[in-house]
Amino acid sequence: MENKLIVSSSPHIRGKASTQRIMLDVIIALLPAAIFGIYFFGLKAALVILVTVISCVASEYLTRVILKREPTISDLSAVVTGVLLALNLPPTIPLWMAAVGGVVAIVIVKQLFGGLGQNFMNPALVARVFLLNAFAKQMTTFITPGPDAISSATPLFQMKEFVKGNEANLSGYWDLFVGNISGCIGETSVIALLIGGIYLLFRRVITLDIPVAFIGSVALITWIFGGQTSFTGDWIYHVLSGGLMIGAFFMATDYATSPVTFKGRIIMGIGCGVLTAVIRLYTSSPEGVSYAILLMNICVPLIDRYTVPKSFGGEKAIA
């Protein structure tokens, strides 16, 4: 018996948190947005979600097998990527394109860089941007919610026209808040995304730093520079539309591609907000959340490097 004792380094007890549980929480938090998306855009939306999830999980499984690595699909992170990707696609996208997006997200962005936690850009967002460039027409065709779905420009496109002085059909705040507008499956309903975000905050999966810094800086800049004259920008409209909510609560907070310290996260949030506002206001593209987050993702290693905190007791950090 003497030699059978297990000897290991302390600590000898561990907390209950697990990677799988965190991923499950994110999936739960995305459910309201998914349900609203299906409610507004019909069963086609449900099919897109299903296809991307299957595509992501299958890609993850096969890559791990081919790379002769341990299987990891049980950590549910591929499911999260699948759902996030679907929510960032228009409901009318051909299903095979959605499937291609899943493969790009998992194989190229995630697994080829080392798998969970090692990717330096958000997989779902890279896949979205890839699809946007590869299939520009299908990725920018949006429909109005409801049974007689007709082609319609997104609220941010309308805003762009409005500021230019052209004829525009602006949506009401309430429609923006509920999600009764055209756009991607899961990005339109602010209320559904907020419910999910609050759940994540409550479960301590995410912290408020990135979302507040992100949304706050978008609001500030669009208020100052977003109107025909200074300080007349419709910042509420900007905050409620486009991919800002899903971006701030679900994409920019992605662990692997956001800083690990409070200070770093504030920098990340502000960076995302500034870039989003600048793209929305000064480029030919009406929406900039995806690009803003991806650009900040690339900066994360740098941010982490320059935000090494001082040890308790106040020694100066060498950066």
């Binding site: 018996m1 003497e2 059978k4 004792l5 297990i6 000897v7 290991s8 380094s9 302390s10 600590p11 000898h12 007890i13 561990r14 907390g15 948190a17 697990s18 990677t19 549980r21 965190i22 990891t72 950590d75 992170s77 798998g115 969970l116 936690g117 090692q118 662990y255 692997a256 956001s258 690990v260 310290t261 982490d304 090494v308 905190p309 001082k310 040890s311 308790f312 007791g313 106040g314 020694e315 950090a317 060498i318």
Partner: protein, 439 residues
Amino acid sequence: MLFKSMFKGGVNVPHFKRTKDCETVKMKLPEKVVIPMLQHIGAPCEPYVQKGDEVKVGQVIGNTDKFVSAPVHSSVSGVVTGVSPRLYAGGVYITSVEIKTDGKQELDKSIKPPKFTSREEFIGAIRKSGLVGLGGAGFPAHIKLSPPQGKKIDTLIINAAECEPFITSDYREIIENSWNVLNGIDIVMESLKINNVLIGIEDNKPMAIKEMEHVASKSDKVNVVKLKSRYPQGAEKMLIYATTGRKVPPGKLPSDVGVIVMNVNSISFISEYIKTGMPLIKKRVTVDGTALNNPSSLEVLIGTSLSEVFECSGGFKEPPEKVLMGGPMMGIAQFSLETSVLKQTNALLAFGKKEAMLPKSGACIRCGRCVEACPMNLLPLHLNSNALKENVEELEKYHVNDCIECGSCSYTCPAKIHLVQSIRLGKSQVKKASVKGGK
């Protein structure tokens, strides 16, 4: 009652203080004891006895001229049956004296209450007592009590936080011997000319707070500080911050911010020692764990083997798979049940298969929970990855040597990564590199 600051980070660990109502039971005399010559941080003692020598209770059996050290005394009367290297708590071999007891427990002639008139004599007496920090670290007490010249000490902090799960050794001391604690405080206050004493106790021990406040009300210089129950509240730097609001800078000692921290059992021992002159030969040990029939609080003679302690406590209900000296957060896993109880042993825990199993670690998801949990404000995830890459430069950049190894990061990690283990590895890499580099 005071309530000062709260350190950042830490984790909420389960308490499992199952032995809190267990009256301390004196363990029966073992047939033999094996007393290691190293029971403290510092230089090991030279054995002063040989095989065949007769020894008495309290007799010095090991000592050294080295400053950072503490003498070792016999805990029994009997005959020395061997002086040889024996398996020690951490898995190494340390010269130890084996004594077969004669059952008489005759006291050594030298045992009489120490006399002292000056601070130097007091410190000398404390060194003779063999006292080391009884909270677990085992730092020789006489060094703690003699801060470097020019360092003004204004506050004595008594550590009774006991933030580790299971352990109730400090708690039982307060419940059973609170007047000894106050008496010990008085002695140290007087000898070191300190006028302010703070006793830190976590708020999950209301009985101890009540008892200590009652006793402390007799002195206007002694106050009880109720601390929030959060691990690692009892870590020296966290405790100093929580009770005084002072932060000990990295690489500095408590004396640099004008405080001395002593464990409640240590201070109580000083009182007992000044009264009787009996050196440190026994220890209250919390005996607990899921593999045990009967958790208990035992008074154990130093040098008693772990197996005898467990047996005396009521034996195992399932075969122990992991045995710890100390608490589950910072305790040392034992290689064998034949190692001995040491001066600084405050708990012996035995766990069955379920608790002993090591969690399988996965990939770091960079969630930042370890950063949030680190009371020292470090980035454990970066320390982990750089230790695994043996990147000494980066390890230093991320302040690897400031880690207090409290285990909060590993505890909270959802991927169950063995962060503390890597950080220890990292520390040794830095040490090795600095030796090589001739720094």
